[in-house]
Symmetry: C2
Subunit: 104 residues, 2 copies
C-alpha cells in the first residue's frame, strides 16, 4: 500500500518516486472525472460503455484512461461478457490521503 506520510520525516527517494507516480495517474482531469462518474453510478459501478458519452471523449481515449487507473490500483475491473465493469478501489485513494496527512 502506498505510501509513507510525506510530513513525518524526510522522504526516501524511492518512496517519493512511488507516490509521485501514483499522483501523476490522478493528476489528469479526465481521469478524475472518470473516478467521480463511476462512484456516482448506482452501486458505485459502471460499464465502460456508460462512460464515453458523459465524458465527451472517444472510446479509445476512455479505454486508455480506464486502463491507467486500473493498473495503478485506483479502479477494480471485472469482465462480464463483452463489457468490462469498473469500481473505485477506496484503499489506494485512502493510501494517498494518508501520505498527505498533516500531523502538526
Amino acid at each position: 500500500m502506498c505510501c509513507p506520510p510525506i510530513l513525518e520525516g524526510p522522504l526516501a527517494e524511492a518512496d517519493a518516486r512511488q507516490l509521485a507516480d501514483l499522483l501523476k495517474v490522478l493528476a489528469d482531469s479526465a481521469r478524475l472525472r472518470l473516478l467521480s462518474l463511476i462512484a456516482a453510478r448506482p452501486g458505485g459501478e459502471a460499464c465502460a460503455c456508460e462512460l464515453i458519452e458523459p465524458l465527451g471523449l472517444s472510446q479509445p481515449t476512455v479505454s486508455h484512461h480506464l486502463k491507467v487507473l486500473t493498473t495503478a490500483g485506483l479502479l477494480h475491473r471485472e469482465q462480464r461478457g463483452v463489457w468490462a465493469y469498473f469500481r473505485v478501489e477506496p484503499e489506494q485513494l485512502a493510501g494517498i490521503r494518508e501520505a498527505l496527512t498533516v500531523t502538526n
Copy 2:
C-alpha cells in the same frame, strides 16, 4: 480552497481541471521530498540554502521547485535578508485530502 470531493457526485470539468493542476504540482518526487525536508526541520521551516545539499540537485532546480510549490499555495515563503525561508501550508494539503475522501 481546493476542491470538491471527487467521489461525492460527478465532478464538473473546471473543478477536475483545478484539482488535476494541483496534483500535477505534487506529482514530482523532488517536490515531495522538498515538502518533507522542510516539514522535518526544527520549527517546520527551512532556508532555501539548507535544501540544496540533502536533495542533491542544483540551486536553480531547487529554486524552481520551491517557486512552483509556493505558487500552488503548498509552501509559504518569507524573505529575510538574502535568503528566503519556507514552511508547508497545511491548508492546501488538507484540501487535496478532502477532495480524495472516500465516503462509502
